[in-house]
């Protein structure tokens, strides 16, 4: 463990860090869980269709309403607020829908999860097959270097890249060509490292469908000689993803990597109700990682139940960024540096012997 932290991080999923993570037992390890009585957990895990149907009706209403307004006012400045709403619904809230439906926890009814998962994956330019597997890996090996395919900010952090994420440009640059590459040439070695063989063909077929829709949209735009079709399909991934990045970056930045306790590598942040609706309560991120079976609407209850065992949540996004920013700056010079979040006296302590938390680079 300590030897991992002293060595340069290799974020490839088939490289040196991968080999070491497997060798040291960090890959597919046993993770810390707060004790919750089975009966209580069973109750928290219960699925229902009601909350997600209500939220999905509102989601579609906002999507269709804002699209209608944007089309109606197209060519005038009045279309801007409509595109603002449309962009956030299309480019940001789709991420939490993709996520929750991918876990199968949003709705009790399986096909409802699957339909919304497919729609949201398309909006995000994510291959629905590939990303299901990458997210499974993210849960098995959360922020384990060389194993986790979803580490947003690597060390040392590339702050320009992190800033550009808010524009959606970087994601767009990788996602769209990635779909084209998968559609025409197939999966690459990294993708094959976490997608089992029997699923690979499905991943390629999914990429072909996405590409076909984008090409059709482009054809309509060219035929009508208008940007409007692209503003409605595809480009919202650029101008509307800022909220997804604003909330999503806070999940893990500045915190520990290569540990097996989500209290050390994930962050719970209290957020305003609008952001929580867009984000479907993923601000309770430690709780989600510890118990991914608990649906988004039960996370506030879970939080109340186990907060005695978790670090104090950040009281706001602003507070969380203010906390993370100096840590990122320090990581520019000392990439082993991380924020060690303090536990309340009621919590079970971190397993120091395994996590090597005595490292002088950690901060309380």
């Amino acid at each position: 463990m300590s030897s991992m932290e002293k060595t340069k991080r290799d974020y490839s999923l088939v490289g040196e860090s991968t080999r070491r993570a497997i060798e040291t037992g960090l890959a597919s390890a046993e993770w810390y869980h707060t004790d919750v009585p089975r009966k209580v957990m069973k109750d928290l895990m219960q699925r229902s269709d009601g909350p997600a149907i209500r939220d999905t009706i509102l989601w579609f209403a906002l999507l269709i309403g804002s699209a209608a307004g944007a089309i109606w006012f197209w060519g005038t400045w009045w279309c801007v607020p409509f595109f603002f709403v449309y962009g956030v619904i299309y480019g940001s809230s789709s991420d939490s829908r993709w996520h929750e439906c991918g876990h199968g926890t949003a709705f009790r009814t399986r096909w409802m999860n699957d339909v919304i998962y497919q729609i949201a994956s398309f909006m995000l330019m994510r291959n629905p097959v590939q990303w299901r597997w990458s997210h499974a890996r993210h849960h098995t090996d959360t922020i384990i270097v060389g194993r986790d395919a979803e580490i947003a900010v690597m060390r040392p952090p590339d702050l320009l890249k992190a800033a550009l994420m808010f524009t959606g440009l970087l994601d767009f640059r990788y996602s769209l060509p990635g779909l084209f590459r998968q559609a025409f040439r197939g999966l690459n070695a990294e993708e094959e490292s976490y997608i089992p063989e029997m699923e690979r063909h499905r991943a390629v077929v999914a990429a072909r469908w996405h590409v076909a829709i984008y090409l059709a949209t482009l054809a309509v735009a060219l035929y009508s000689w208008s940007f409007l079709p692209l503003m409605l399909i595809g480009l919202p991934r650029l101008y509307g993803s800022w909220h997804m990045v604003l909330t999503g970056l806070l999940q893990h930045i500045g915190l520990a990597d290569n540990v097996t306790d989500h209290r050390l590598n994930s962050r719970t942040v209290y957020m305003n109700p609008v952001s929580r609706w867009i984000y479907w309560n993923m601000n309770y991120h430690v709780e989600h990682h510890m118990f991914p079976m608990v649906p988004y609407h039960a996370l506030p209850r879970l939080h109340e139940l186990i907060k005695h065992d978790l670090p104090e949540p950040n009281p706001s996004m602003w507070h969380a960024y203010r906390e993370a920013w100096p840590a990122l700056l320090r990581q520019l010079k000392y990439e082993d540096y991380f924020l060690k979040r303090e536990l309340p006296p009621t919590a079970r302590p971190y397993r120091d012997e395994f996590h090597n938390l005595a490292t002088p680079t950690a901060a309380e």
Binding site: M45, R110, W133, P292
Partner: protein, 104 residues
């Protein structure tokens, strides 16, 4: 011919729930369906060896606690990614309030 091994008492498992049963270095999951019938499968998920007894039973489905993979616990059938390999199932009988599973 199966060996019938005493696994638990009927009352040890709530309806629509699952418990873990370990025997001679192997681990099993014992289910009680919503209509009160008992079933048994291997205890570990075929995706990443996580104990299914920590998961959620819904009708005839057991959902794995790690990545929400789903199996039909009556047949062992994997119901889609990330689980692709079926679960082994075992015969079960209930006698005088005790649940037995049949092992070869």
């Amino acid at each position: 011919m199966a060996d019938w091994i005493e696994a638990c008492l009927v009352d040890d498992v709530d309806e629509e729930d699952v418990i873990r049963f370990d025997h001679e270095g192997r681990t099993f999951a014992i289910y009680r369906s919503p209509d009160g019938q008992f079933f048994a499968t291997d205890g570990l998920c075929t995706h990443e060896k996580v104990h299914l007894a920590d998961g959620l039973v819904m009708d005839d489905i057991i959902e794995c606690p790690k990545h929400n993979g789903r199996f039909n616990y009556k047949t062992g059938a994997a119901k889609g990614a990330p689980v692709c390999v079926n679960l082994a199932t075992y015969p079960v009988k209930v006698e005088a309030g005790t649940v037995f599973i049949g092992l070869d």
